[in-house]
Amino acid sequence: MRIGTNWFKSLALVVGVGMLLAGCGSGGQQTSGSGGASGGSADKVYVVGTDAAYPPFQMLEADKISGHDIDVMNAIAEAGGFKIEWKNTGWDPLFDGLDKGTVDIGISSITITEKRKEKYDFSDSYFEANQLILVAEDSPVTKLADLKGKKIGVQAATTGEEVVKKAFGDTYEGLKGYDDMPSSVDDFFNGRVDAVIGDNGVLSYYVNKVKDKKFKLIKDDSFEKEFYGIIVKKGNADAINKINDGLKKIKENGKLQEIYTQYFGNK
């Protein structure tokens, strides 16, 4: 009997502590959320979230985040006259962080889409992208439709996945949604998927890193052109104005083109 009550007491204690922690957690979040909303002061430091696993747009070099988008955002902040602080959140938590207010700005090769516009506000575009299909060199595939029934690797929840879903259905069995681009390219060269669909910049960057492999990149003209934008929580006009202002300046003074050339050479 005694053991029984002790056991019950410890259980109650564990549950109590757990609830307390959970309470503190949500309480803390609320304060930081309201702090973010009222943070209109001049020296507000905007937290910029990114998924640093998408070279050459954003990547981790040793302990530092670098890449095309990183340079662009830094230049925008400098030209727009505001302070930023980087946070490598990963792709999914980036959107979650924007919702919760732990991240103010997101830049991570995010294509401007109508669906995303329903939930977030986008800046003007800073990069033009299109999807490419990676297949074996001797493959007869010339367009997306030829991939019907084949296994296609994409990065989950990217526009690459969207074009496949649009062509073959939302639950197409051959669709393999990877967490990141390198995994899908890796599995392509191991023969586990027949093709990979992804953004031009990233896909060409990866396949060029792989030596002695035979492949080709196909451009399907039916793919719509895409534009990368910088994302904020819906209604955060303060941030979006500052970003667009900075972006306009670096477009005009040639800084944006300079960064592009540095990563992709001359157009």
Partner: protein
Amino acid sequence: MDWSVIYDYRELFIRGIMNTILLTAVATVCGTFLGLFISLGKMSSKRILRWTCSIYVELFRGTPMLVQILLIHFAVIPSIWGILYPGASSPEAIYSGFVALSLNAAAYMAEIFRAGIQSIDPGQMEAARSLGMNKGLAMRQIILPQAFTRMLPAIGNEFIALLKDSSLLAVIATPELNYAAMNVAKSTFERYPPYLTEAAVYLVLTLFLSRIVVRGLEKKYSTR
């Protein structure tokens, strides 16, 4: 919250549930057999066998399963395949899943078997040997049946852990249940419906495993 996404993506979920069950079943069977031999190896009188089996257990018990999955899928299987069948495609992700889950389960099952076997009074083995049974026969007829009843709760635990651990295979795009939920969440920006559905399905599966399968076995093999 928009629960209609579950219906829209039902195919993905159904495929996921089927694959999750399949993965768990294969890993359970392979893991149990492998585990039995590894546990016997660990108790063997031959030093090399004993050491090899001990190293195996420590390796698979001492490293995160996620790391094992990534290593097996992206490194081990492609290189083995490259040697065995040059130029051929590596097997799909689900096969990496079978291998990773089975090998991991074997390490834990080996320890469960060893504990069960060693919990049987040595007098049982002595008695069997004095009746003229050889070591193998005594193990099969006398020790293992007794040990098995004692091991059942632990084995049930391992089944359930295995079922839940199969969710880690989503990182290599194995079309199991967690992969389905993650992809729906990513594609639709709906978080509660897919993850709650996923949690509910896992709960139903584990309850089924523990209530029906394990308890049923325990009743069947109960000595009391």
